[in-house]
């Protein structure tokens, strides 16, 4: 069968034009908030993003299987041309089973870009599917869960992604089967997979009316959201909303040190930023040091830039010192790191700086669909061409869901390889596989571009010889030169206490004694503090294990543990500098960032999508 590209179709075909018109009208009606110039909607299967056993026809809407279909290694999938835009709010497509073929091993679902196509949807990480032969749902796993009825020739299966609550449900012949998946990641593509000869399915991305009444479902959510908005108290602040919102955005950006963005925002909205840029950048430097595990330097920088700050916040200082001790164990704090690094060149094999933006939970950041993909970064849809440039720099083998299939996945030349960061099951044959978080230079929300030079490392090792080291580079407000030194050694495979260096270990022990002394001093001054005691105990306990990273208290060593400390320090600096101690969301809740508010921020686009529909329909 010949595979027709979308473009190769004669434009004069009236039937095709009619269908095209229908499609445009329906998509506009269903997803009015989507700007297709920015984030195109899926309209057909991608002839480029499919396994070779898949054949496409009928304007790339019909999928047929053309492999041997001997076993699961012959499974083949195809993704839609585009991922589901977040602005849809609620997205829906249907697949009609034209023929169940030999065994009817068909899977309908969703997958992220780059997931192996020599598999059925649902078998791998970031892949989700509902299978026809057993009616099970597969949530990134080789074993399914009982979910719905089986499906076969003549059935129409629908898949609905609710981007408001990140769930997915399926329909069979217009009947909802209930939630199949929760906590879905963003940017999923509609996907189908087939496995035995004769299997043929047709997709309906909106070319035809849907069997399931998706508009009815959308109307329910619209009503819910309108109700939510209607019930939200406004009170006497009515009318000041623009100012409130601008202030909220601005102070959020300032708080987190997104200097350039904050300046741009201030320019665009003709508002003022309360803090000068130098100060913002200083805070940003300090935050970066903490996040990189270089707590000793962070303390020093804070003391220099904000004299008296830590003296006024002894609890914060103690927490920082405790963390510094932990980072010494980790081998990341500069006091020990400079002792352990023998050759600066060895740093070359660690491109990027993995710990600049720590991992936020399990789901989102592992997904590298492209350079700019960040969970907080609004819609995050990546033009496909970008991924290529990145895959060359950080190409990592992606651990396969089932061992039997791993051979086939690695042998597949077209499959794009993935990394599961810091995962313990990364294979030994890939020693540098642990981390591939890319520089996020193309995202404005991220920290501004930096240059990494090797020279800093030498400099810092020299400094420790001198015993006093200053960080001119860090203080420079316009120069972005935290060196390659900001590298997380935790990720290296030979993890040893203080990087295995004797001198460093001694330094650490000594530091521990100082810390103990500090604690006693604080006790005398302010009375017993159980939190401190616990913190100290936990930190010291690390030394009791031969492998601190895999011990009951090993959690402390995780880079994500730096985040809370980082924001505490940032808030303290802001408070002392008489800037807004809380970021913009303080406007909404009196006690720091409320989780609900963050949820709303994250979902605002999706909520907006639905709230907007009503306005347009009216």
């Amino acid at each position: 069968m010949t595979e027709l590209g979308v473009g190769s179709l004669p434009l004069g075909d009236p039937a095709f034009n009619y269908q095209e018109h229908e499609l445009n009208e329906r998509l506009k009606r269903l997803y009015p908030a989507v700007n297709e110039e920015e984030t195109p909607l899926p309209r057909s299967w991608s002839p480029k993003d499919k396994y070779s056993y898949i054949g496409l026809s009928q304007n790339n809407l019909r999928v047929h299987y053309k492999g041997h279909g001997k076993n699961h290694k012959d499974a083949a999938s195809v993704r839609a041309t585009h991922p589901i835009p977040a602005a849809c709010g609620i997205y829906y497509f249907e697949v009609k089973i034209v023929s169940k073929g030999r065994d009817g091993y068909m899977g309908i679902g969703l997958s992220a870009q780059g997931v192996n196509m020599n598999r059925l949807p649902g078998w791998d990480k970031h892949s989700y599917g509902y299978h026809g032969d057993d009616g099970h749902s597969f949530c990134s796993s080789g074993t399914g869960q009982p979910y719905g009825p089986t499906f076969t020739t003549g059935d129409v299966i629908g898949c609905c992604v609710n981007l408001i609550n990140n769930t997915c449900f399926y329909t069979k012949n217009g009947i909802s089967l209930g939630v199949a998946f929760t906590d879905l990641p963003p940017n999923l593509y509609p996907t189908v997979g087939l496995q035995t000869p004769g299997e043929i399915v047709d997709a309906n991305f909106g070319q035809q009316p849907f069997v399931f009444d998706i508009e009815d479902y959308m109307s329910e959510w619209r009503a819910k959201i309108h109700g939510m908005i209607a019930r939200f108290p406004i009170g006497e602040r009515l009318g000041e909303w623009q100012a409130v919102l601008q202030n909220m955005v601005s102070s959020y950006l300032v708080h987190h040190g997104y200097c350039a963005t904050a300046t741009a925002f201030a320019r665009a909205t003709e508002t003022m930023i309360q803090e000068d840029q130098t100060s913002i950048k200083n805070r940003q430097r300090i935050q970066k040091l903490v996040l990189a595990g270089r707590v000793g330097e962070a303390i020093e920088a804070t003391q220099q830039l904000y004299p008296g700050l830590l003296e006024r916040n002894p609890n914060l200082l103690f927490m920082l010192k405790c963390r510094q001790f932990v980072e010494m164990v980790n081998g990341t704090d500069s006091e020990v790191r400079c002792l352990t690094i023998r050759s600066p060149k060895s740093q070359d094999s660690y491109p990027g700086s993995p710990c600049l933006s720590p991992h936020h939970g399990a789901s989102n950041t592992h997904l590298h669909t492209g350079g700019s993909d960040s969970p907080t970064c609004s819609n995050g849809v990546t033009p496909p061409n970008k991924s290529k440039s990145h895959s060359s720099s950080g190409s990592i083998k992606y651990p396969s869901a089932s061992s039997s299939a791993s051979s086939s996945s690695s042998s597949s030349p077209s499959s794009i390889n993935y990394s599961e960061s810091n995962s313990s099951d990364s294979t030994k044959s890939q020693p540098h596989s642990a981390n591939s978080t890319q520089e996020t230079s193309d995202s404005e929300m991220e920290i501004e571009a930096e240059h990494y030079t090797n020279g800093v490392v030498e400099g810092s090792s020299a400094r420790i010889m001198n015993g006093t080291y200053k960080h001119e580079e860090i203080l420079q407000p316009d120069d972005n030169s935290i060196g390659n030194g900001v590298t997380d050694e935790v990720c290296s495979h030979s993890r040893q206490l203080c990087g295995g260096n004797q001198a460093a270990t001694e330094r650490m022990i000594q530091f521990g004694r100082e810390l103990q002394a500090l604690n006693e001093q604080l006790c005398q001054e302010y009375g017993k503090n159980t939190t401190h005691k616990k913190m100290l105990q936990d930190a010291f306990s690390l030394l009791a294990y031969s492998d601190p990273w895999n011990c009951p208290v090993g959690q402390q060593l995780d880079p994500t543990q730096r985040e809370s400390l980082c924001s505490a320090l940032n808030s303290a600096i802001l408070a002392s500098a008489d800037a807004s101690a809380r970021s913009g969301h303080g406007v909404c809740s009196a006690h720091g960032p409320s989780p609900v508010w963050f949820l709303l921020l994250r979902q605002s686009r999706q909520l907006f999508a639905l709230a907007q529909v009503q306005v347009i329909v009216k």
């Binding site: 719905g148 009825p149 217009g174 009947i175 909802s176 089967l177």
Partner: protein
């Protein structure tokens, strides 16, 4: 507290004194002062139940009614009186009772004849409040035959009259007679346009009217499907009202309307408005996010909708995880509600029974036909335990629903063999059978029939528990359903049973009762009794023993049935008893020596119905079977009687079963 006790009567007296004053003012000779008095009274009673009760006790109602009915009263006064009465009705149930006792209903209905719309609305409002109370006898609406037509004519007057009248109708339509009266007075044509009223309240009350009118009423339902509202079919209007952005109450009531129309065969069960709209809507109503009342109503309506249709049952069983969703109905009051607040606990407790019985009903409906669904239900968390405890709950409604559910599941061979046995459901079931009301007894005994099936592992323990007396007493019940179940259970019990059990059945039932049942007016009872006889007369030794003691009566009963007007099935079953008798050693002689019976067999061999021919031929074949004593004489006798010729004829039958049987019989002569 002593102080309070002393003070209380004083306060009481004070309040009564003020109330007294209000009533006194109603008797003022100056009409203007009376009006002012009524208006002051109106303001005094709003939201004050104590004051309302006082005024009623002090006799305000008859005076207000008098003023309301006097044509000499000003329209304003009459209206204010109706308003105050309406306010009094808003109080407790006792208030309503007092008002009804004062004949408020005829007085207000009379008031509706006035030309003044404001007055009419005030009367209707009060009538509405009185009629929606459970203590008001609805029959009062129908005593005067002119009332309903007049109400219909008032429907067009205003949004208020529409709201109040439709609300009265929907609360006062409780029987098929009420439905017919309203239908005959044009309820459908008059109310249908209100479904697109600009007022939500009017739309909602009109919709409720249709749900009560259509319930189990074919005439109404058949009419409804052809009604157009503003050019649109009524079913489509209902579908629109089920849209997911509509208020839940409206979705649920519209779903009820369509459900009732479907059950009355006005809409096909495979119609997309049922499959794709009504059913999913009702399933949604069962979800956790809705109020407990809505969930109960949703589940009950859904159970009713799909009860007779296996396809709907299959669809529902896969919709939105319904089977698992229902498990949540058993979790009230939840441990959380007990802790968080007492109000919530109270609310949960109140609805807990309703929720459980609704879930059992829905499970029963879901599992009534499909084996796969039954499996899914029994595999739901703690399902069997829940049924078992449901069987012994204090609420009769829950017990009944639980046993219905158990009955539905007991139709599964696999469940009988596994989960039913594992959870020893027969124990609570046996307990339930003692002194239960008839409706529970019918379900429980029907379930017992299934548990007594030969392959059921529960059969043995049930037999040992001494169920026989109970079953035999059921056969003497006035209710045909109970008689059937009793004899049915005995029939199942006798199937392939030991001689001991068989003797026990005959002894316990008594031959007299056995033969009385053979002349039961209910065909089902007769069929099952014949079945019992057949099961008793299996295995040669048993046949001979039973026939030696009861042969005469049995032969008589058989003769009577064969001679009487009965269905083919009954006759076939009776002939099968003869087949069994013919299989005995000594029992055979009871047929061979009865020429009349042999003539009857001969007659049925030539009958037009193949089943009867086959049974009769079987009987002959047993009689002349070679290897038995005296077969030669029997063969000779039957040859003389012309049976061989008939057998030869039957070998030419186009029915392979019959011709084969005839050939086998003829072979006995050749050997």
């Amino acid at each position: 507290s002593v102080k309070k006790l002393l003070k209380a009567p004083a306060v009481e007296a004070e309040v009564t004194a003020t109330s007294r004053h209000y009533v006194d003012r109603l008797f003022d000779p100056d009409p203007q002062k009376v009006l002012q008095g009524v208006i002051d009274m109106k303001n005094a009673v709003i939201g004050n139940n104590k004051q309302k009760a006082n005024l009623i006790v002090l006799g305000a109602v008859p005076r207000l009614l008098y003023l309301l009915q006097q044509s000499s009263s000003s329209m304003e006064l009459r209206t204010e009186c109706a308003v105050v009465l309406g306010s009094l009705a808003m109080g407790t149930e006792n208030n309503i009772k007092s008002l009804v006792d004062c004949h408020i209903i005829p007085a207000l209905l009379q008031g509706l004849l006035s030309p003044d719309l404001v007055f009419i609305e005030a009367c209707l409002r009060c009538l509405r409040t009185v009629f929606i109370s459970p203590v008001t006898p609805v029959q009062l609406l129908y005593t005067d035959p002119t009332v309903i037509p007049h109400l219909m004519s008032l429907l067009s007057n205003s949004l208020r009259t529409q709201e109040y009248i439709t609300q009265i109708f929907s609360h006062c339509c409780k029987t098929p007679e009420h439905q017919t009266i309203l239908f005959n007075h044009g309820a459908i044509q008059n109310i249908a346009p209100l479904l697109i009223s600009p007022s939500y309240k009017v739309r909602m009350q009109a919709l409720k009217c249709f749900s009560v009118l259509a319930y189990e009423n074919t005439q109404v339902s058949m009419t409804l499907v052809n009604v157009l509202v503003d050019g649109e079919l009524l079913t489509q209007v209902f579908v629109k009202m089920m849209q997911r952005d509509q208020p839940i109450e409206m979705q649920l009531t519209a779903a009820k309307c369509l459900t009732y129309m479907c059950r009355a065969s006005a809409i096909r069960t495979d119609d997309s408005c049922i499959v794709l709209k009504t059913l999913p809507c009702l399933v949604r109503m069962c979800s956790k996010e809705h109020l407990l009342e809505e969930r109960v109503e949703g589940a009950e309506t859904l159970a009713y909708l799909m009860e007779p249709d296996v396809e709907l049952q299959r669809i529902a069983s896969t919709t939105d995880h319904l089977v698992a969703m229902l498990a949540d109905y058993f979790k009230y009051p939840s441990s959380v509600s007990a802790i968080t607040d007492i109000k919530r606990l109270d609310h949960d407790l109140k609805h807990a029974h309703e929720l459980r019985q609704a879930a059992f009903k829905l499970y029963a409906s879901l599992g009534s036909n499909d084996e796969e669904i039954r499996k899914k239900i029994t595999e739901t968390e703690n399902m069997m335990d829940r049924i078992v405890s449901g069987l012994s709950e204090s609420s009769i409604k829950v017990r009944l629903a639980a046993v219905r559910c158990l009955h539905s599941l007991s139709r599964s061979v696999q469940q009988l063999r596994t989960s039913f046995h594992d959870h020893a459901v027969w124990k609570p079931l046996m307990k339930l059978l003692q002194n239960a009301p008839d409706e529970v007894l019918v379900m429980a005994s029907s379930t017992l029939c299934n548990l007594l099936l030969e392959f059921s592992p529960s059969k043995e323990p049930i037999l040992e528990s001494g169920v026989m007396e109970l079953l035999c007493s059921l056969t003497q019940s006035d209710s045909p359903a109970l008689r059937v179940n009793g004899i049915w259970a005995l029939m199942n019990m006798a199937f392939q049973a030991d001689q001991k059990v068989k003797v026990e059945i005959v002894r316990c039932l008594g031959t007299e009762q056995l033969f009385r049942l053979l002349s039961d007016p209910d065909t089902n009872v007769l069929m099952k009794t014949l079945g019992l006889l057949r099961n008793l007369l299996s295995q040669r030794a048993h046949i001979d023993q039973v026939m030696s003691s009861h042969g005469k009566q049995i032969m008589q009963a058989v003769t009577l049935i064969l001679e009487a007007e009965h269905s083919i099935e009954v006759k076939e079953q009776t002939l099968c008893i003869l087949v069994n008798i013919a299989d005995g050693n000594t029992a055979k002689d009871l047929i061979m020596t009865n020429d009349d019976m042999l003539q009857k067999i001969k007659y049925y061999m030539g009958h037009s119905n193949v089943k009867l021919q086959l049974a009769a031929t079987f009987c002959v074949s047993n009689l002349i079977w070679n290897e038995e004593d005296g077969s030669q004489e029997r063969q000779d006798k039957l040859r003389e009687m012309g049976f061989v010729d008939i057998l030869h004829k039957l070998t030419q039958s186009s029915e392979p079963n019959l011709s084969d049987r005839a050939k086998t019989a003829l072979q006995q002569y050749l050997a």
